[in-house]
């Protein structure tokens, strides 16, 4: 692809082409950086504990990743537009309980309907968030922090002290995460395709690019006539809908759903997104990177478990990665700006 682009370059451009090469190199490095860290983690852990690479553990990690990768896809759409959605954990929890509960109240309900219900619950909350942010012009941090608590509160009211237990769920449902194709969980493949499609949408469609533009410079987006409200609303609605679907998967994966399902997931998701190279102040990053970030966090989580290290370290390491990623992005951004500026000025001279 790069070659094709280069071929169509005007002849006088070569001096400046190096600037682009630099920028692109940096971004490619940024994503391959995650892969390198991931590979290191896997290699070290596998070296210490062979069980880590067992089929069942790989499956476990992948299915765990699937839920966070989905959430990260929605979160990416929101974060590239310089917003944040903190309600995803609560939405996931409510969707998980209500959808799993359907099997008890409506025995024999078809699985697609259950997924649609989950999606609908998430979409509903996404629309509420989106309306408040886009039309009400309330900062998304405040809106989604509030809806995080509100949704969880309603969830607790609905669930009460009860829970859905795995034995009330049909095996067709709880088997979803266990079905594999060539040893790879079926859902992991589906979600990989969904994430790739999402990343492609963000990169190759006008409305997707608008989200990056909004996050890169909101004022300029307004002047450029981008329908900011509509785009931001859509991003929140999609993030909610995706969280709803993730909730159904969560129920299938864990079987037992009470009112605490998904608590704290929002922070893990934001961490995954940022570690995956999505700029926290919007404008750049990809859904694939965010999914890789989710995979990295899930791998670390599992590695610590397999190595018998306290799960306290899991959170500490996630926090460390977060700071590292943000610092790295900041440094890269500053250096890159500087480098591009110097190159531009040299060209001018």
């Amino acid at each position: 692809m790069t070659a094709e682009v280069l071929r169509r370059e005007p002849p006088q451009a070569p001096a400046d082409a190096s600037s682009r090469g630099l920028a692109e190199r940096v971004f490619r490095i940024r994503e391959s950086g995650i892969v390198v860290v991931l590979a290191l983690f896997i290699a070290v852990t596998a070296g210490l504990q062979h069980r880590f690479l067992s089929a069942s553990n790989i499956q476990f990690v992948l299915v765990n990743t699937v839920i966070f990768a989905l959430l990260a896809l929605g979160e990416t759409m929101v974060v590239v537009a310089r917003h944040v959605d903190l309600s995803v954990g609560s939405v996931l929890g409510m969707s998980a309980y209500l959808s799993a509960n359907l099997f008890g109240s409506h025995p024999g309900i078809p699985l697609p309907v259950v997924f649609l219900v989950g999606l609908g619950i998430g979409l509903g909350w996404g629309i509420v968030n989106g309306l408040l942010v886009a039309a009400g012009r309330v900062p998304s941090l405040v809106v989604t922090l509030a809806s995080l608590y509100i949704i969880r509160g309603i969830d607790i009211l609905i669930v009460g002290g009860g829970m859905v237990t795995a034995n009330t769920l049909p095996s067709a449902f709880t088997d979803i995460p266990k079905e594999t194709v060539l040893g790879i969980p079926y859902v992991a493949i589906v979600v990989a395709v969904v994430v790739a499609a999402g990343a492609y949408y963000l990169r190759s469609f006008r409305s997707g690019r608008d989200l990056y533009a909004i996050g890169s410079n909101p004022d300029a987006a307004k002047l450029a006539g981008i329908p900011i409200g509509r785009r931001v609303f859509t991003a929140f609605a999609l993030s909610g809908a995706i969280a709803g679907v993730a909730g159904v998967l969560w129920a299938a994966q864990y079987g037992t759903v009470d009112s605490t399902a998904g608590t704290g997931y929002e922070l893990t998701v934001v961490t995954a997104v940022v570690v995956g190279g999505v700029a926290i102040f919007g404008g750049s990053g990809s859904a694939v990177g965010a999914a890789l970030g989710a995979l990295l966090l899930a791998t670390i989580n599992s590695a610590l478990y397999v190595l018998g290290i306290s799960s306290f370290w899991d959170q500490a390491i996630a926090g460390f990665l977060l700071i590292f990623a943000i610092t790295l992005d900041r440094v890269i951004s500053v250096r890159l700006t500087e480098a591009l500026r110097i190159r531009s000025s040299r060209r001018a001279a």
């Binding site: 169509r8 082409a17 990056y212 890169s216 890159l336």
Partner: protein, 535 residues
């Protein structure tokens, strides 16, 4: 869509030069009680560069924003290419073929240059996907047409302001804009960048575009424009061919009266040295800078943009660190990198970018004025709004600041009045040394004269002033001594009597036609800064 139709027009029959491309008649616009535009009219012809002149507050910006579709006028008619149009928003203005280039372009730093130009209307291929190749090719084609070597595939982050403007111009062209409005495009450009911009403007003109060009620099207007429209107090004053007009004619039309030329007059002999900078170096930025400013003296720091002038000022005031050298104020050494220390020692700093660095735009006029005096206004740890108000009212009166209420956000004031607020902020501290960086950038002519008068008045009151300025007439008008920087070094020093525009330019650009003739006669306290050899 609209763009397609216009492209067809383009191919078929380009508008004949001289045809009326845009006409705005009797436009009015008020914001609350303020009538920003009372009777704004302008007529642009294809193939002309048309100057729009007026002091700050004359209604130029409002008129531009009406053309850009940002403001909707309360009255008046707008005709574009013979058709009456109503612009409901920026998108409508673009569809009508009007492109606006702002002084500080608003690009998306994370997106590519091509995408910045085509955002929201990227060329598509099957399935409504963006055709990256076509987009970049189209952008490249436009840059070729403009004769500028910009790579459409690089991200916009790091582009110079001049290049950012080129991207905006390219964006306007990609929209087949027949009318291009440039709102003070040269304010932040260096001389060579201005020259390049003018080449682009000439190309646009040759291709039949109508360009509306706004600038406070009259010499630029005479260089690039053919006709001029002057506005005053929200009204259209005159539209005429520039040929046969003089700068004085234009100034008279803008101000509505003869501008009294304040002469420098003879100053009292400068007093003791208040600012003593010796051998200041910040690696890679400026090297071995020594200068002094005495009480009652105005020292100008001239040189090209990027020669390190502002950086020296920032280091002296303690915003940036320096690697070697020393700064003394009234004989006492100043702590490195400590603006607080500099302020306590009696240094005031009016930065180059008043919006970003000089003011807190969302705070009120009085809060901004009081900002540097909070220590003095504090009673038991609290700031009383009444004492803030009294201080601000006093200084607003002294500097003749025009404002609605002192509690209005400072962002509501015009550029000139904002600059006066910055000055008031520092003057209320009674500084011994005042550093001003481009004190009149983007300020209209009458306010500019007031600022000059104010600086002279301050000097008479015994303040030592270090003034950075790119405007040589200003340098020559106001300063007692002129220091010229080039590539991070002091290149020359001239006494007032010896300073001429030619000499300053020669020293600043390194075309040393005459070896710094005036330096020996400067009243400089011993810093004979000879032409230094390059490393």
């Amino acid at each position: 869509m609209g763009a397609g139709e216009m492209a067809d027009d383009d191919a078929g029959a380009p508008p004949p030069p001289g045809a009326i491309a845009l006409s705005l008649q009797h436009a009015a616009k008020s914001f609350g009680a303020v009538q920003a535009l009372i009777d704004g009219s302008i007529e642009l012809r294809a193939g002309e560069v048309h100057a729009l002149l007026g002091e700050n507050g004359a209604g130029k910006s409002t008129l531009v924003k009406i053309l850009a579709g940002v403001h909707q006028p309360d009255g008046g008619t707008l005709t574009v290419a013979g058709r009456e149009v109503t612009l409901h928003g920026p998108a409508a203005a673009r569809a009508a073929g009007i492109g606006v280039i702002y002084q500080e372009p608003t690009l998306f730093p994370d997106l590519t240059v091509a995408e910045n130009m085509f955002i929201g209307r990227q060329p598509l291929r099957s399935g409504r996907r963006i055709d990256q190749q076509a987009m970049r090719a189209e952008a490249a084609e436009i840059f070729t047409r403009l004769g500028v070597p910009l790579d459409p595939g690089r991200i916009a982050r790091g582009l110079s302001i001049a290049d950012q403007q080129v991207v905006e111009i390219g964006k306007a062209l990609s929209l087949d804009a027949r009318v291009i409005v440039m709102d003070e495009p040269t304010a932040a450009l260096s001389a060579s960048e201005v020259a390049r911009l003018f080449d682009v403007v000439r190309t646009l003109r040759a291709q039949g575009a109508a360009v509306l060009f706004i600038s406070h620099r009259l010499e630029e207007i005479f260089e690039i424009c053919q006709r001029v429209t002057v506005m005053r107090d929200g009204r259209h004053v005159l539209t005429a061919d520039l040929e046969g007009l003089t700068a004085d004619d234009l100034v008279r039309a803008m101000v509505g009266r003869e501008l009294e030329r304040r002469s420098r007059g003879d100053q009292a002999a400068p007093g003791e040295t208040v600012l003593d900078v010796s051998r200041l170096t910040r690696e890679g930025v400026f090297i071995d800078i020594s200068l002094t400013v005495r009480a009652g003296e105005i020292v100008a720091l001239a040189g090209l943009v990027g020669s390190g002038r502002s950086e020296v000022a920032r280091a002296v005031f303690g915003i940036d660190r320096y690697d070697a050298g020393a700064v003394k104020v009234r004989g006492k050494p100043l702590r490195k990198a400590s603006p607080t220390g500099a302020m306590a020692a009696g240094v005031g700093f009016v930065p180059e970018d008043r919006r970003q660095q000089g003011l807190v735009m969302d705070m009120s006029v009085q809060q901004n004025v009081a900002l540097a005096s909070l220590g003095r206004l504090r009673r038991a740890g609290f700031i009383r709004s009444s004492s803030e108000h009294a201080l601000a009212a006093d200084w607003a009166a002294r500097l003749a600041i025009k404002y609605g209420r002192l509690t209005d956000p400072v962002s509501m004031l015009s550029g000139g009045n904002q600059q006066k607020v910055v000055l008031a902020k520092w003057l209320s501290r009674k500084p011994a040394v005042l550093i001003v960086d481009e004190p009149t950038r983007g300020i209209d002519i009458a306010t500019k004269a007031e600022v000059h008068h104010l600086l002279l008045q301050l000097a008479r009151d015994g303040v030592g002033i270090l003034m950075i300025s790119s405007e040589l007439p200003e340098v020559l008008l106001v300063s007692d001594r002129v220091l010229v920087m080039r590539e991070g070094r002091l290149a020359a020093e001239f006494a007032r009597a010896d300073a001429t525009e030619e000499r300053i330019i020669a020293a600043g650009t390194g075309q040393a036609t005459e070896p710094a003739a005036g330096q020996a006669s400067g009243q400089a306290a011993g810093q004979a800064t000879a032409e230094r050899s390059e490393p």
